[in-house]
Amino acid sequence: MAHILVVDDETSIRTVLSVLVKSLGHEAVMCSNGEQAIDVIQSDQSIDVVMTDLRMNEVSGMDVIASVKRHRPQTPAIVISAYLSEEKLKEIRAIGAFGHIAKPFRMDAVRETIEAALSAAPLPPEE
């Protein structure tokens, strides 16, 4: 079972993603803003994947990804946002995002991206 951090300022999006994550057999940790998410990223070492909205007040999804890359460089971060241009997609890749899910999203897209992120996350090294 993986721990997946879901960051979105829209309650309904958080709810549906939480249900979906749980239906996949994982644990969902919810944050309603970027600041809260950065606190969790820094303090909760059990987070395996981060899923974040891009457009949020004050601390944006870009800031959340930057924090993941700084504090937990091996943790895959997935951006959830409306349609993005190729240039914007390059940007989010450049700052270290693992993948992107476009809104309005379907269940399969979310499921496949989470599975890909989890298989990309490194296993603990053998001592």
Binding site: S23, Q45, R55, R72, A94, P104
Partner: protein, 538 residues
């Protein structure tokens, strides 16, 4: 067979490797740290542990490390990158101090450089007594002097003015010392260059947090009573100086820069609190509330500043608009002013009659003319009065229905009243139309549309497209999960309904696609020019 020296280096290498992969707080990293500390405790039975890198290789207490495992190699590369050649772990070291030592050891080379090297960083976290280290140091030398020796435990504050650095990047070292001196308040004035450097560091909240903490700690170290009196005050002072540097930005007056500073402060708070949690020093660990209060205070200050600026801007805009309106009113014939589109717009925007009269007087309309207009207003009031009477009649009828059945005579009386009022109203309205000589208000409003520019219209459509994506995601995903059976079994009829819902979702999605194709994406999702330029440089 591995020696004790091999085991210690292997254990240290494992910690570094795990930290790189999982972070310092991950369970596997902490476990590696605990195992290593137990090994060190065994070795400390014979005295301090000296780790050396020489041309002959790596040694622990003069025993050469023979293992060539990847972890040993990783350890060597790691400390070479940080220009460390000699470390002494003293046997008085506690496990907490060892963990703090690992944090310093894991710092990036550039972070250590900012803190004055590995020795400086150890000093900053008060580990100098338990860890000895040799690395490079900046100090003043004469042009003809050759420096061959290295000094133990570099300090942050050795003078470099008028001198030349012996090793490393002297310019950067000097700048860092200037920044720290400014943050500590050693230097009351602020050079533009120093302020600029601090602003640049602000782009990386973690780096700026390190600088503020180092400045606060070294200040406390330099003046011990300062730490005793109130460590939080020292830290907050350093934070305020960093903020002062941010306000020196030439573009500080713009809302964009202010918002950027607010964002930096939010991230800085998070970093400072995180770093304070890892501090052993009780005085500094107790600074959390002070940091929260200070940053909240700065946020308030920025918000008030932004409000004041916005107010001044709007006030100027109002003045400017009023001048233009007055010019327009002067040009407009008095008899048509009252029917002007301008009046209608102003009234729709909330201007009241008194404000309108004031405007007219300012524009030069005479009091006599205003009196004539009063008569027209009287007609309007009469119409309003009729409306009020109708309302009252309606209430009377409702009450009568509720209380007792009305007689035919009563009803006829009421009908007569209503007929009279309706005729009076029609007459009054017609009079009003004749007076103003224009179209009825309702007819006018039907032909009027908000004067939106094409660009603004597209911006609004783009926002609508974006907003529609949110609920549609929820609908699509929920329907998908239900159809899929992820949330439990469903009956055949329910499935049919869900299929229909899914089809409808697809149709809406196509409409949104079209909308976005026409209107584009909202501003917030536009590309970032600075990142783009970096991408294309690559």
């Amino acid at each position: 067979m591995n020696t004790a020296a091999d085991n210690i280096i292997h254990a240290l290498g494992l910690i570094l490797s795990n930290t790189a992969v999982y972070g310092s707080q991950h369970a596997v990293t902490r476990q590696a740290g605990q195992s290593c500390f137990r090994l060190l405790q065994q070795a400390w039975a014979s005295g301090d542990i000296k780790i050396n890198i020489t041309e002959q290789g790596l040694s622990v207490n003069h025993d050469v490390v023979v293992s060539r495992s990847p972890l040993v190699k990783h350890f060597v590369e790691h400390i070479e990158q940080r220009e460390i050649t000699n470390v002494i772990l003293r046997k008085v070291m506690t496990e907490e101090q060892f963990l703090a030592f690992l944090e310093v050891l894991n710092a990036k080379p550039e972070e250590l450089e900012q803190l004055g090297g590995f020795g400086g960083a150890l000093e900053a976290v008060a580990l100098s007594d338990v860890v000895g280290v040799r690395n490079v140091v900046y100090r003043e030398v004469a042009d003809d002097q050759t420096v061959v020796a290295k000094k133990r435990n570099a300090t942050l504050d050795e003078p470099v003015d008028n001198g030349r650095a012996t090793d490393g990047d002297s310019d950067n070292g000097a700048v860092m010392r200037e920044i720290l001196a400014f943050l500590r308040g050693d230097d009351n004035g602020m050079k533009n260059e120093t302020a600029q450097q601090i602003r640049e560091k602000g782009a990386d909240a973690a780096q700026l947090a390190d600088l503020i903490l180092t400045a606060a700690e070294t200040k406390a170290f330099k003046t011990p009573h300062a730490a005793d009196e109130n460590a939080s005050d020292t830290l907050v002072e350093c934070l305020h100086r960093a903020y002062r540097a941010m306000t020196q930005d030439p573009s500080f007056h713009t809302q964009k820069t202010k918002k950027q500073i607010q964002r930096t402060l939010t991230l800085l708070k998070s970093e400072l609190l995180q770093k304070l949690q890892g501090k052993d020093d009780i005085a500094f660990a107790a600074c959390e509330n002070a940091i929260r209060d200070a940053i909240e205070g700065i946020h308030d200050e920025l918000a008030i500043d932004a409000l004041a600026q916005e107010y001044a801007k709007k006030w100027k805009a109002v003045n400017s608009s009023e001048k233009r309106i007055l010019r327009y009113l002067k040009r407009t014939p008095t008899e048509t002013i009252e029917q002007s589109e301008l009046k209608q717009r102003l009234m729709d925007s909330g201007l009241d009659d008194d404000n309108w009269r004031e405007l007219l007087l300012k524009s030069g309309v005479s009091q006599a003319e205003l009196d004539r207009q009063e008569k027209q207003e009287g007609i309007s009031k009469a119409v309003g009065g009729v409306a009020e009477t109708l309302k009252k009649l309606q209430q009377d009828i409702a009450q009568a229905d509720g209380a007792a059945k009305l007689s035919k005579q009563d009803i006829r009386g009421i009908q007569t009243q209503i007929d009279g009022v309706v005729r009076q109203t029609e007459k009054s309205i017609q009079t009003l139309i004749d007076e103003i000589g224009g179209k009825p208000r309702d007819a006018r409003s039907q032909t009027e549309r908000p004067n939106l520019t094409r660009k603004r219209l597209f911006e609004i459509l783009a926002e609508i497209g974006q907003e529609l994506c949110q609920p549609l995601s929820v609908i699509n995903c929920s329907v998908d999960m239900l159809r899929d059976g992820s949330l439990g079994d469903i009956a055949e009829m329910q499935k049919e309904m869900l299929d229909t819902a899914a089809d409808s979702g697809q149709k809406i999605q196509k409409l949104i696609d079209k909308l976005i194709a026409i209107a584009g994406r909202p501003k917030g999702l536009a590309v970032d020019k600075s990142i783009q330029s970096e991408l294309y440089e690559e």
